[in-house]
Amino acid sequence: MTAPPLVRPSPRRGGGSGLLRHVAGKVGGALVSLAAVVVLGFFLFRLIPGDPTVTMTRGRQVDEAQIAELRALHGYDRPIVEQFGKYVGGLLHGDMGTSLFYRRTVAELIGERVGPTLLLVGTSTLIAVTLGLWLGIRGAWRRDSPFDRASTGVALVGWAMPAFWLGMLLSMVTGNLFPSGGMRFSSTPPDFWSQALDVAHHMVLPCLTLIAVVYAQYQLVMRSSLLEEMNADYLTTARAKGLRDDQVRRRHAVPNALLPTVTLVFLHIGLVVTGAITVETVFSWPGLGLLTYEALAGPDLPLLQGTFVVLAGSVIVMNVLADLLYQVLDPRVRAS
C-alpha cells in the first residue's frame, strides 16, 4: 500500500454478488449517513449555550408571558426528543425552520441560492476536471519531463493557496476588467443572451479562482493513477502488439487510470462546494456558500443548520452517485 499523494482513489472492490444488491446496500448506507447528518445537524446546534428566545427578543420589552409564548411557538419548551421529532418531521416536509436574520424560511432561502452555486461549481468543476485530467495524463506519460515538473509544481502551488486569498488577489490585479462581485448587473437587459453574457462575465473571476485551487487535485490524482498503471503488464502487451505510443495511452492506460479518477471527481464535488464558501464570500456570489457565511455572522443557527444539512447531505448523495457510476463504468465491479 502506499500513501496518497494528496488523495487516493477508492480501492477497487472485488466482483460483487449482483449489482442490484450492491446498489441497494449503497443507497441504504447513504440513507443512514443522511440520517446521521440530520441528527448531527440537530444536536450540534443545540450545543450553543443560552436561550434562543432571549436572543430573539433582545432590545424589546417583553414579559414572561410573551417569552413563554415565543418558546411555545418555536417549540423550545418541549422535551428535546419531541423537538427532535418535530425537526425531523419538518425536514421530511422540506421545512428547515425560519432564519432568525432574514425572517424567512430556511428552505426558501436555500432554494433561491442553490442555482447560482450549481452554476458556479458545475462550470468550474467541468473546466477543472478537463484541465486536471489532461495535465495529469500528459505529466504522467512523460514522467519527470520539464512539462511534468512544471505542471506539477504549478498544481502544487495552486493547491497550497487559500481560495479566498487568490480570489482577493485576482480581483485586485484585474482591476476594472471584471465586476467586483455579484452575479449580474441590475441594468442588464432582460433578454436571455444579455443576461447569460452578464452572468458569464461575473463568473469569470470566481470560476478561475475555484479552478486554480481545485484542478490540482484532479491532476495529481490522475497523474499518480496513471503512473501506477504505467508498469502494468498489459501495457507491455499493447506495445508488443505494435501499437503506437499514443494508442497505448489512449486505448489502454488512460481508460484504466481514469476509473478511480472519475470516482474522485464526484467525491470532490463536496470539497468544491466547501471551497465555494470562501470564494462566494469574496466575490459576493449569491450562492449557498455565501448564505453559509451570512449565517455565520449572527450566528443564524437555523440557517446554519439548514446549510449544514443541505451541504453535507448533497455531498453524501454525490458520493453514492459516484459509487453507482463506478459500478457502471468498471466491468470488474459491474459483472457478476
Partner: protein, 522 residues
C-alpha cells in the same frame, strides 16, 4: 535461408544507481521454423530479458548489444515504424501471468482483435478462440470473468492473431494447476505442430520444457551454460547447474528421487488428529464449504504430505490444525486432547506445533534482523535461559553456521534458502514437536529446494520432529513424505502410504493428477 530467429552475442545491461548491471551476457541462440526451443533457468538468470529483447520491449534503462536477427533482419537497428510493423505480425509473445497481461477493462475479444485491425490481418476472433478450444462467446468476457487457464488460452489466441512465424512464451503455465497446465501445454504443442510456428518457451520448470521442447538451453547468471537436444540435456546433463535443476523435479515413482529411507517409516503414536473437520467461510454470495469432513492423523516423527490443487482447502485445513481458525464442526486433538480455545491455552499449544510458510521473504518482517526474528517466539513465551544462546542453537539446528554471524543480518541480505532456514530456526527455537510446512519450497529456486527438504528430513531424524507438508507438487510428496493425503474440493479423497497412493492410486482424481504431471523422462 536464414533461421527464423538468431541471437548473436546478445548482451543486455541495465543502468541502475550503482552503475550498469549485466542481465544477459553473450547469448547465441538459433531457432528454425517449426522448432521449439526451451529456455530454462532460475529466477533472475536473464531468460525473460532475452525474450523481451527480441521485440525490443525492454525498459528504457536497458542497453542492448549484439544482434537479434528476426528472419535475417536485425531488430536492434530497425526504425520504430518498421519495428511496430514487425511486432506481433512476425513475432508475438505469450506473457507470463495472463492475469496482468490482459487489460482488465476491455473485453478479451476486442483485445484479440486489436492487433488484427492494426496489422490488417484477416483472422477472425471466433476462429482463434476455436483454435485454443474456447467457445466463441467468451470473446464478450472481461479478463476477471475467466479462469487462469482460460486467460492463458486467450493470450495464446491473441498471440496467433496475426499469423506470426515466431511465438515467445514466457512462463506460460506458471501459477496454473497441474491439470490446467497440461491442457495449456497441449494446446501450444498442437498449434506449433499444425501451423509450423517457431516457439521459444521459457520456464524455470525443466519438466515442462522436457515434455514440449526439441532443444533446450539452460541459463545461469545471464549466460547459457548448456545447450542441446532436450532429451540429451535432461538425461545426461554435463553442467552441475543443469544437474541440480533436473534433480529438483522429482519423478514420481522413480526410487532415485525418494529420499526417505524405507526403515525410517515406522509405526508411531498419533500426535495430531483431525476428526470430521469441516470449515465454512462466510464469503460474498453465501457460505463456502472449504473443508468437508476431513479425518487426518499425524504420528510423532511422521512426515505427511497433504496434496491438492489450489483452492482444494488444504491451506484452510492447515490453519485449522494450528488453531488459527475455529472449525465449523469436528475437532482437532493434540496428543488426545482437544485444542484449547483460550488465548493462553493456544499460546501453550503453539510451543508444540509450529508453522513454516511458503514464501520466506514475506514470512520474515523485513525490518527485523535474523536475531530478532528467531528470538521473537522466545520473547513471546518468555522462555527462560540465555536468549542469545538459544537463538544461536536454533540457527545452528537450521544449519546456519556460524550462527552469530547471522545475528545482525536483515532478511533482504539473505538468499531465499537462508531465509527459509531462518524461518525454520524461529520455529525450532521453541522446541516444537510438529512442523506444519505450507509449500515450504515452492517459492525457492530449484537448486536450493533439495537442501531445505534435506533439512526437514534431518530434523526428523535428529529431533524426531513430525511434519505436515502442504504441497501441490506430487514429486515433492514422493520425495520426502511417509504418507500422502490427497485433497480435492475440500474432501480428502485418498490417503495412505506414499508408494501405495502414488504408485497405485485408487481414486480417479489422484489418477488424473498423476497423469497431468509433466515428466522429464519422456
Amino acid at each position: 535461408m536464414s533461421p527464423l530467429l538468431e541471437l548473436r552475442g546478445l548482451g543486455v545491461h541495465y543502468r541502475t544507481d550503482r552503475g550498469e548491471v549485466a542481465a544477459v551476457r553473450d547469448v547465441d541462440l538459433t531457432l528454425e521454423a517449426g522448432q521449439t526451443l526451451g529456455l530454462a533457468g532460475e529466477s533472475g538468470c536473464g531468460k525473460s530479458t532475452v525474450a523481451m529483447s527480441v521485440l525490443r520491449l525492454l525498459p528504457k534503462s536497458a542497453r542492448v548489444e549484439g544482434e537479434i536477427l528476426l528472419d535475417g533482419e536485425d531488430v536492434t537497428t530497425m526504425s520504430w515504424g518498421r519495428l511496430r510493423a514487425v511486432r506481433w505480425a512476425q513475432a508475438s509473445v505469450v506473457f507470463q501471468g495472463a492475469m496482468h497481461a490482459l487489460n482488465p477493462v476491455r473485453r478479451v475479444g476486442d483485445q484479440i482483435a486489436e492487433p488484427i485491425r492494426l496489422h490488417g490481418g484477416k483472422a477472425k476472433v471466433s476462429d482463434l478462440l476455436d483454435q485454443v478450444e474456447l467457445p466463441a462467446a467468451k470473446a464478450r468476457s472481461y479478463p476477471h470473468e475467466l479462469s487462469g487457464g482460460q486467460k492463458q488460452r486467450i493470450m495464446i489466441a491473441m498471440a496467433l492473431a496475426c499469423d506470426p512465424r515466431l511465438v515467445i512464451a514466457d512462463e506460460p503455465t506458471t501459477a496454473l494447476d497441474v491439470i490446467v497446465q497440461a491442457q495449456v501445454l497441449g494446446v501450444l504443442s498442437r498449434l506449433v505442430a499444425e501451423q509450423g510456428i517457431g516457439l521459444v518457451m521459457i520456464s524455470h520448470d525443466l519438466s515442462v520444457l522436457a515434455s514440449t521442447c526439441d532443444r533446450l538451453a539452460v541459463m545461469r547468471h545471464g549466460g547459457i551454460v548448456e545447450e542441446g537436444p532436450a532429451r540429451e540435456v535432461i538425461a545426461s546433463p554435463t553442467h552441475p547447474h543443469t544437474r541440480a535443476l533436473a534433480a529438483a523435479f522429482p519423478v514420481v515413482g522413480d526410487p532415485a528421487f525418494r529420499q526417505v529411507e524405507p526403515d525410517e517409516v515406522r509405526e508411531s503414536s498419533p500426535l495430531l488428529r483431525a476428526e470430521a473437520l469441516s470449515v465454512d467461510y462466510r464469503g460474498r454470495g453465501g457460505v463456502v464449504h472449504a473443508v468437508k469432513g476431513v479425518d487426518l492423523e499425524i504420528g510423532s516423527g511422521e512426515i505427511v504430505a497433504l496434496v491438492g490443487e489450489s483452492g482444494s482447502g488444504k491451506t484452510t485445513t492447515a490453519r485449522t490444525l494450528l488453531g488459527l481458525r475455529a472449525p465449523t464442526s469436528g475437532r482437532v486433538l493434540f496428543e488426545g486432547e482437544e485444542l484449547p480455545r483460550s488465548a493462553k491455552g493456544l499460546r501453550e499449544y503453539r510451543r508444540q506445533v509450529q508453522l513454516v510458510l511458503q514464501d520466506p521473504t514475506s514470512a520474515l518482517n523485513p525490518r527485523h534482523s535474523v536475531y530478532e526474528s528467531v528470538a521473537e517466539g522466545l520473547r513471546i513465551h518468555k522462555v527462560p535461559g540465555d536468549e542469545a544462546a538459544l537463538v544461536a542453537d536454533a540457527l545452528a539446528k537450521a544449519e546456519l553456521r556460524p550462527p552469530e554471524s547471522f545475528f545482525p543480518v536483515l532478511p533482504h541480505e539473505l538468499s531465499g534458502g537462508q531465509r527459509q532456514r531462518v524461518v525454520i530456526a524461529g520455529a525450532l527455537a521453541l522446541g516444537p514437536r510438529l512442523l506444519v510446512a505450507d509449500e515450504p519450497v515452492a517459492s525457492l529456486d530449484a537448486s536450493v529446494r533439495g537442501e531445505i527438504l534435506a533439512l526437514l528430513l534431518g530434523l526428523r531424524r535428529e529431533l524426531g520432529l513430525a511434519a505436515l507438508i502442504i504441497t501441490h507438487d506430487l514429486g515433492l510428496a514422493w520425495s520426502i513424505a511417509d504418507r500422502v493425503a490427497v485433497m480435492h474440493e475440500g474432501v480428502l479423497v485418498e490417503q495412505g502410504a506414499v508408494d501405495q497412493v502414488l504408485l497405485d492410486p485408487r481414486h480417479e482424481y489422484t489418477r488424473r493428477l498423476l497423469a497431468a504431471v509433466p515428466s522429464t523422462t519422456p
